[in-house]
Amino acid sequence: MTRFSILAITAILAVAACTGGSPTGAAGPFDITFLVGIAEDPEVDQQAQAQIEEFNASHPNIKVKREALDNDQLRTIIQTRLGSGDVDIFGYDTGPGFGGVLAKAGLVADMKPAYDKYGWKTFDWAKARCTYSGVLSCLPGAVEEVGIFYNKTMFDAKGFKEPETLEEFRTIMEAFKADKIVPLAFGDQPQWPAGHQYSMTLSNIVGRAGMDARLYGEAKWNDADGVKAIDIFFRQFKEAGYFPRDPNAVTYEDANALFYAKKAAMVPTGTWLVAEITDNTDFEVGFFPFPSIDGSSISPPAGLGGGTFVAANSDAKDAAFEFIDWLISDEVTKKWSLPVFNVIPAQPVDTTGVEVSPLFQQVLDDLASSSGTGRDFGYNIDVLTPAGFNDQMFTGFQEVLNGTLTPQVQADKLQAAYEKAMAAGETIPKP
């Protein structure tokens, strides 16, 4: 090979590297793999696939392949899949133990350029959940609230209104118990539902400021309020017989099924279940936040259900951003997110002309001030706390339900787990 040939080939390669390394300005077509947790309701999952097909049909240069996995499975394979470079976009939890770890490892792309380019109007509080070490690394997913869904027909028959105090709540539950109706369909076999119930009672007792103080290490999880929050739900309610028999052996789906089958009057869960509840019930369903505890505020846990990330090593980042922009556009929000999936994007939403179920409308009204300025919302703890703390929450609350652990000991263990995580730098930093 002559010196000229070597120089020529090198020059061609150099030019190719300069122009071909990024899809910016390139015409495509781009194949994008979109990895997400599978929806609990198969019908909703099918609709999600239909939504992707609509995008593919309207964007001939980009082909999105949606791959839905069980959430537990997603956690175990995400590192390998990102490393292999065959994932472009993925949905994942935004907590420091989840998205934060990926960002720290440099596995996710900086999304600031996309925010700037497309002018996404995401709420600031939501953007903060996607920001790790100052880098904006994801687009916040749906805004969700944890509360209590109730059978309005049953409530009306007994002349009950949505309870505003714990005493009223207990009166209602006692009445249903007397009628052999499960008052509160709480199933904790998968362990994570307990974290939501704890979020409800603790958020009410200590309010948003108290939750912030705990998350930033300025207050303790095992103070009197922390113990009280555990005691009310996991000991007092259990001993009073408000749950199905042996809630530790009842799955989340079975608990929900009790509600759908009118064998339970209420089900404590999050607004992500609205679409499924609407599909599976033939009675009117209402929603209320956990009532005030001894005069406390009502601060229902609200926050992000997760976020959308783009892989750092994706060779189709711009196409991925374009797809995300389509997903959160007004048109798609009005056609899919609100009426079909019943999810609320973490940005100002125009609901004009959107027909939604009465239940979802109630949730929308309740979350109308979800920017966090209008109402004292609490937090759904498990998306903000580190894995070690969550592990103690999940296993420990089962033990409190069994009576093998006291609320005080569980609170002490939670505090110890949080201190350990703080020392390891695994907790969310104070803004």
């Binding site: 720290k104 028999r245 042996d246 009842v250 079975d254 296993t395 089962q398 093998t404």
Partner: protein, 314 residues
């Protein structure tokens, strides 16, 4: 011929000829050995030795599973294990599993195999029925048994209530005093069919004349089983024992499907704890150290049982 025979040079030549031929044969046979053995050795090295070494290497490191850099911590993960109460609790669950989960399927399997072997009707049909759970995926078994135990609609509680034993009805998988044994029962159901088929195969190799002779000598059923049948199936017995015992220390899937280690940590096994630490809490090094303990315990058990079998053979 004698002259030739006494000639030292020719003698050496005659001695060398067969040696060379033997050498060629040896070379050929070594080549053949390599052709047949190398693929399996390579597969074994790739899928067993390499991951084993890799896991050991990880167990000496602190790594969250994501960060590009890993920190060498020596034996710190193993030292931490010694002081970890949850690890010892998981180990104790494995020990219970090893005792109950080994004895029960072997005892049931052996009893049923002897019954089938001694001329039961519909032997083939029964053998197929007993083996059926073995071919079912563990996930399916876990889900089905979860339904059986379900406190809301489970068959078991319905049966108890139907016969007036309402107090016995409970959430079997939600009660820490019963959860482990409830999962074990499902695992035993899934395993005993394998034992039946293995023992039956072993029994079919026993010389019936020995059994007849024992009968003539006045041996009762127990004595015939103890002194004729059991020695006859000793190799199969050791094999089944090894498989079930080693499996008891690595059990994960059925526990994960049925209880995820709960309630609390009442059914958590070493493998489940390893998974939780490595993938749930991002302590990959620590999870690997637990995996190494499982591997070493299994290895020791397997070697001991094989040596025991060899000694008995000798």
């Amino acid at each position: 011929m004698a002259g030739l025979a006494t000639s030292p040079g020719l003698g050496i030549a005659r001695q060398l000829r067969p040696r060379r031929a033997a050498g060629r044969r040896r070379a050929t046979s070594w080549g053949l050995v390599a052709v047949f053995v190398l693929p399996s050795v390579l597969i074994y090295a790739l899928f067993m030795v390499w991951p084993f070494v890799g896991t050991f290497q990880l167990s000496l490191q602190a790594w969250d599973g994501f960060a590009p850099e890993r920190t060498f911590v020596g034996l710190d993960n193993y030292v931490a294990l010694i002081n970890d109460g949850e690890f010892w609790a998981a180990l104790s669950h494995n020990l219970i599993w090893a005792v109950v989960g080994t004895i029960a399927p072997i005892a049931i399997g052996l009893a049923l195999a002897i019954m089938l072997w001694s001329g039961a009707r519909f032997r083939l049909a029964f053998r197929a029925i007993y083996f059926l759970p073995v071919i079912l995926p563990i996930v399916v078994i876990g889900i089905v048994w979860g339904w059986i135990y379900n406190p809301l609609f489970g068959v078991l509680n319905t049966l108890f209530e139907a016969v007036g034993l309402d107090d016995w009805a409970k959430g079997w998988l939600g009660d820490p005093s019963t959860a482990l044994y409830a999962v074990l029962a499902a695992a035993i159901w899934a395993t005993f069919g394998f034992c039946v088929v293995m023992f039956l195969a072993g029994l079919q190799g026993i010389d019936l004349n020995l059994v007849d002779a024992a009968k003539v000598d006045g041996a009762n059923a127990w004595q015939r089983a103890r002194y004729v049948l059991l020695p006859g199936i000793a190799p199969v017995f050791t094999f089944v024992l090894t498989i079930t015992l080693v499996g008891a220390f690595a059990v994960f899937d059925i526990v994960y499907v049925m209880t995820k280690g709960g309630p609390g940590t009442a059914t958590e096994t070493m493998a489940g704890y390893s998974y939780k630490m490595a993938f749930g809490r991002n302590f990959v090094g620590y999870g690997s150290a637990i995996s190494m303990v499982i591997a070493v315990v299994s290895l020791i058990l397997a070697v001991l049982l094989l040596r025991f079998r060899e000694r008995r053979r000798g």
